[in-house]
Symmetry: C2
Amino acid sequence: MAGSLGRICKGLKRLGSLIHPSASVSVRATFARTMLQGLPSSFFLKPRDFSLPNSSWGSEMMRLYKHYNSQCEVEMEGGETREGPWQRLPSYNRFLKYAPGGVYLSKIIQSKARLFTRNCRDPGATFEYALYFNSEEQKCVGIFQAGHLLEGPPGHVHGGAIATMIDTVTGAHATILSGPVVTANLNINYRRPIPLGSTVLIESSLDKKEGKKIFITCKVTSSDGSKVHTDTTALFVSIGVSHLLLGS
Amino acid sequence: MAGSLGRICKGLKRLGSLIHPSASVSVRATFARTMLQGLPSSFFLKPRDFSLPNSSWGSEMMRLYKHYNSQCEVEMEGGETREGPWQRLPSYNRFLKYAPGGVYLSKIIQSKARLFTRNCRDPGATFEYALYFNSEEQKCVGIFQAGHLLEGPPGHVHGGAIATMIDTVTGAHATILSGPVVTANLNINYRRPIPLGSTVLIESSLDKKEGKKIFITCKVTSSDGSKVHTDTTALFVSIGVSHLLLGS
């Protein structure tokens, strides 16, 4: 066991940055893309990107998607395009199968394991979301459509499902800023319930960095920003790869 | 719309206590049982209790289940039994279908909606848990086996899935103590990751009550109590039924 873990760590250390341990989509994306870029494309099956629109996305989700996507590329004079201020972050339901080292990892981690927020095959039933990062403003935004299987209060989203999306967005943000991290604290104020089926905005802002600590604030609002559903402070701590895998 | 909501509220107010808006299992149970007790048994289909053992439960989960169940009934001299200090709380994946008033509620809330923690048909894949309440000690305990679809960090449970179980146990606890409540704050310190497939204990204790506020502390530990995975403070606020349904 220790030998296997040693090989895992050794292999993964060579890979540089790794995903955020709270299952951040952006980090999985970064990690998977890093892997894919360094190897022949035929070496891997192309993973499905879950943050692209599907038939379940409603008009408000599509409006927000188009809004942020339009700022990922900016048209210049002459018709050429350049990168805009925002970047869409793809999202997969597992990263290990696409990573060198997976041959060892699969001995430890069940092959059936899937990212919590991407474990449902029924489009629209649970978490539908896409994340965007703005490097100039050091902000991260999530657009989130809540499915009917996320119920807590009658007709409304479970507090744990809201916490899950907050952890996902802020964790992705922290990882982009500082590499591999763990969630150390989530302090969530629930102000207003979120109706099932509705689309909300999750906005994550860097508060400060102190050594290995990354302090982030996050607001979940209605899609037009007029109603605050939750406000949160989150603390993440940078970690090494061995810490992540050994879970110590 | 307003008229429908008015009828819903009027109908539900007559019912007395209602479920906790963070989808607490115990409250759903209490609510459903209250409904069932007041009506002919043939009036409803018997709902499935998800907190009973199934084939996915491992040895540690079964050990804890038997441990707490053995304290729900105590054998007296002469072989008779009486209620013990603990009470197991059944758990359903929806309560509205068993409640009078559902005819109105179903117009608003999608018929497919399911409790977030009980939305998966595959035994063992997500949340396997049972809750117990001790009225003498005013404590609530959850035994929780984490499935392979709850992944966050590689091989470990997502921070949001942990938050979900904390909200479930503490929310159930607050509702038993004070009737219908909403989660106002969850402040979670993540100390140690939880491996997928493992069984943990979630212990909820009443800190204090101040007017409508219920302050609760909660620890998630390894099943033998030796390792602390998270510690949490939670704040719940008592609400009226109309607040719960209108989501204001």
